[in-house]
Structures are given as C-alpha cells and as structure tokens.
Symmetry: C2
Subunit: 117 residues, 2 copies
DNA sequence: CTGTATCCGCGGCGATACTG
DNA sequence: CAGTATCGCCGCGGATACAG
C-alpha cells in the first residue's frame, strides 16, 4: 500500500461516512428501515429510548443525505412512511459488520473472563 | 427473520459497537494502527487535526476496551508504541465497509449531479 | 399521528500551559 | 517524547409544550 495513503486528511472516506452516519441514532434508524418501511410511530416503538425530536431530526438528516425517502400519503389523519433509498440500502453491509464485530468482541470478553483474567 | 429481532433494546450489537468505536477519532486511530504500530508523535502527524489531548484520551479508551496495546520501551527519551490487539484487528472489515460505503455514496452523488439534478 | 418550537444540561472536544 | 492539568466553548441530545 502506498505510504501516502496512511495520512488522514480532512477529506477521507472514513470521515465522510462518519459525517453521514455518525451520532447516536442514525445507524439504529437505518437498521430499522432495512427490515421494512416504517411510520414514525412504529420507529419510536422499535427504538424505545429515542426522543421524538431526535428521531425526526435524524430522519431529516438522512433524507438530506439521500439515504432515506419520506413518503407522505397526504391523508387525514397524517400518514407518513420512511424507507431506504438505493444508496441507503448500501449501508447494510456496514451495519452487518458492526453486528459481527460486536459479537466477536463479546465472545472475546467471555473467553478472557473464562481463562481466569 | 424473527419479528422480535427488529426491536432495538439497550443491549444490542449495534449499540455495543457504537459505544466502543463511536466518536470522532477512534476509527481514524484504528485505521492508522492497522497499517503498522505507531508512536504517539507519528499518529499525530498522520492525523493532523487531532489534538494531543484527544489522541491520548481515545488511545486510553481503546486500550481499556482491549482493542489497542500500549508498549512502553522504558527508554529515555520515552518511547511508546501503540498497536492493535487480536480483537482490535477485527475492526478492519468494518473500516473497509466504511470506506466502501463512502466511495459508493460519492459515486452516487456524481451520478445525480451529472444527470441534471 | 406527524410534526415544530423552545429551553437547557451535559459531555465531547479543543486550546493552552506545564511536567518527567 | 509522552504525557497531565485546567479551562471553556458549543453542539448533541433530552424534556416539555404546542400546532395542523
């Protein structure tokens, strides 16, 4: 690998992803939407400890990034569904890797405590 | 997939990874250490805009999580090297996915601007 | 039901000075 | 060179009230 590639500049893929998906909630929301489109109230139920403000705020951020699509059915009472865009669906391998890493990490923890650490 | 698996509880793999690797700097540091062990000063050079306080603080956090190993050579002047542990090395697929996603995202951006959006 | 508006605490993060 | 100590900003994120 090129030596120059080690230097981390302001514009670097990792930082880009961090800006798009960083923070406490975005990946959890995307994980939800990977299963199916959801209404706001359903998302709140599935992520019990998120506040309404943060949920809407993060959904808006994800829309503006082009990762999530907001579909307003224009009914009364209001009905709005959120779903992933094509590029939003591409966060799935990333989320899978996060899950895989967490499981490997917890397995490692168990091994260490078991071996009398 | 089981319907129950959609609910995101306080203990969930995604949150675990978020706690271990969340924040502005940890993944950038791990990416550095993936290439080779580094001294503190070298890390600072390769991540130009990190403050010394944050670098040390995040390195300490990564040590406590068991992802990074601190090796003190006990010389004068001081010489300390940081390197990944076995489990720390397992963050690599995750980082690779972050890079892959950022590239796909930027490609998507270019396509959209090109097609007269 | 789907949002907006407002207030605010806390902690992430940075800047600077200092030490062994 | 590799840290520690201290101070302070500011923005993330939470609570609550209100609106269409």
């Amino acid at each position: 690998m090129d030596k120059e590639a080690i230097l981390i500049t302001a514009r670097c893929p990792i930082r880009t992803t961090l800006e798009l998906l960083g923070g406490k909630w975005k990946l959890l929301i995307l994980f939800q939407l990977h299963h199916a489109p959801f209404r706001l109230s359903a998302l709140r139920k599935n992520i019990p400890d998120i506040s309404e403000k943060m949920l809407i705020q993060e959904l808006k951020s994800l829309q503006e990034s082009g990762l999530v699509l907001r579909q307003n059915f224009g009914e009364v009472p209001p009905r709005v569904e959120y779903q992933l865009t094509a590029i939003g669906r591409q966060t799935m391998p990333l989320i899978e890797q996060m899950r895989a890493f967490a499981l490997a990490y917890e397995e490692e923890l168990r091994r260490n405590t078991a071996s009398g650490q």
